[in-house]
Amino acid sequence: MTGLKQQKKHTVITLESLSNHYGTTRAVNQLSVEIHPGKVTGFFGPNGAGKSTTMRMILGLDAPTSGQALINGQRYDQLTYPMHTVGAHISGTAGHPGHTPRTFLRALAQSNRVPQQRVEQVLEESGLSSVATKRIRGFSLGMRQCLGISAALLADPDVLILDEPMNGLDAQGIAWIRQLMRNRADQGGTVFVSSHLMSEVQQVADQLILIGRGELIANATTQQLINEATEQVVTVRSPHASALAGLLTSRNLQFRVVDEQLIEVIGLGLQATGALAFANGIELHELSATHGSLESAYNQLTQESMEFSASSVERG
């Protein structure tokens, strides 16, 4: 790993009211956030939430309808030899099927004046050395992901942008990516990684940006989001769940009915929920706070945009 920067240059990505509309679809709408160095920032939202489009706009691949994405104050296309500043892997793009990984990486290295020895280094690092002279045509999804990530690492960039990097990877590959993101953040690098699976980002991200339908839902530390989620959701199992639901409704408290015997009480807390059931003589079989699932935090946070979408469907 000779010649690599031990400390990355302090680089901030700024999205200013970034929007991408086509027709009446708002792929990304008025997104304003900053992505800071020294930590892993997860970018989470369901498929179609606008994650890829946002990343493509940062990289200058798609043009914003309005707003802008800046890297330390510059647009991506203002960077000379941009791979030294930003290394990115956008899913589904890693080389021409007729090329070998070595040709693909060598051409990228030449275009950004990266020393050729880096090609062999990243091939080694990603475990692709043994297939360096095979055509990409025959590669599995996981191998293509590894190749795309190798390309992102080629110029040892200050910023790493990865779009759904875990797709198609085996356990070993996932461990590699996690370690890689951790290391680069610890070296002061800026790491921005998207996923549609909360379990993937939750374990690796320090900061989480949640989006739904192209709009910002939350931007907070992972710990903050988990705390909020666990404090608020209490799972109650009871043969008289409907009676409890009635009580909650009459007191204007929020809850979700999971099934006939299971409801989730939101925002009331463990003690108050138990006391409410006891005072009304409702038999309980389970009373528990949900443990650290960001999945439920996200569901909670997205409820608003879901309701919005439901009502807009009704109107439509």
């Binding site: 510059q74 203002q78 960077l79 000379t80 021409h96 693909f104 051409a107 795309g148």
Partner: protein
């Protein structure tokens, strides 16, 4: 890497970025067997057809039909067919990046789309020029041998045919690149190429309207012929070069504008 200071970026580094990008394009071109293969087939076809036409000229001549033509020009005439292989290689060099999704990687590495187009044009233009320059002398040997005295030529004819073929294949490669940028897919690019160099002259040929007939004279293939044969009617080599350059500029220019305008 310290020299890559972002602040002093833009215009000063433009040329250096262009050359770095051109090197990458050369690597990509030679990394694909489909492209080098097309060049090889184009060479073999031209040499083979030249030899065939040479032999045919000799047979005709011996039977009293005078179709004698300098051997280098016989070879140039076979480019009517052989040109498609070189032009297709130029178009596929670009459209292959779209069909495989590599265009995103390419534009990440070189986000300035004008420079990217320039680098591709530079590389494909030079490849086309060198090919034409070498192809004519190489194919002239078997052609001249087959044609015997019905294919006699002097060196100035060899020189002008080689230079003409080089110029033509260079500009044709730029037209192909432009069509590739406009179509963004291989099938569309190849079909529009064939339409331009073979289809249009064939379709418009039988239409007995004066302005259609004079328009045909300005199609790339005909301009190429007037350039290489040193014709004076309907126009000479200088005008022919201008006509070809215009075709190149218009197609490549509109292709580049579309690349700049559209999302990758």
């Amino acid at each position: 890497m310290k020299s890559l200071d972002l602040a002093e970026s833009n215009s000063a580094h433009g040329l250096s970025v262009l050359l770095a990008t051109a090197r990458a394009e050369i690597t990509k071109f030679f990394g694909l067997r489909s492209l080098t293969g097309l060049y090889v087939v184009g060479l073999v076809v031209t040499v083979g057809l030249g030899w065939l036409l040479g032999a045919s000229a000799k047979a005709s001549g011996e039977n009293g039909i005078d179709s004698a033509m300098p051997a280098p020009l016989i070879v140039f005439a076979t480019l009517q067919f052989g040109q498609l292989f070189f032009a297709a290689a130029a178009a596929l060099h670009l459209t292959g990046e779209y069909s495989s999704g590599t265009m995103s990687s390419t534009l990440q590495a070189v986000p300035r789309r004008g420079i990217l187009t320039g680098a591709k044009a530079l590389v494909l233009g030079i490849f086309g020029f060198l090919t034409g320059l070498v192809l004519i002398p190489v194919a002239t040997i078997p052609t001249a041998l087959a044609a015997g005295r019905y294919g006699e030529f002097d060196l100035s004819k060899l020189f002008s045919a080689s230079l003409g073929a080089g110029t033509y294949l260079a500009l044709l490669s730029l037209m192909a690149l432009g069509l590739g940028l406009l179509c963004r897919n291989s099938t569309g690019a190849i079909i529009s190429l064939i339409a331009l160099v073979i289809g249009l002259p064939q379709i418009l040929g039988p239409i007995p309207i004066d302005w259609v007939q004079s328009m045909i004279q300005y199609l790339p293939t005909n301009a190429a012929t007037f350039m290489a044969t040193g014709a004076s009617e309907p126009y000479g080599p200088v005008v022919a070069v201008v006509v070809l350059v215009l075709w190149g500029v218009v197609l490549l220019g509109s292709g580049m504008l579309m690349l700049k305008k559209r999302d990758a």
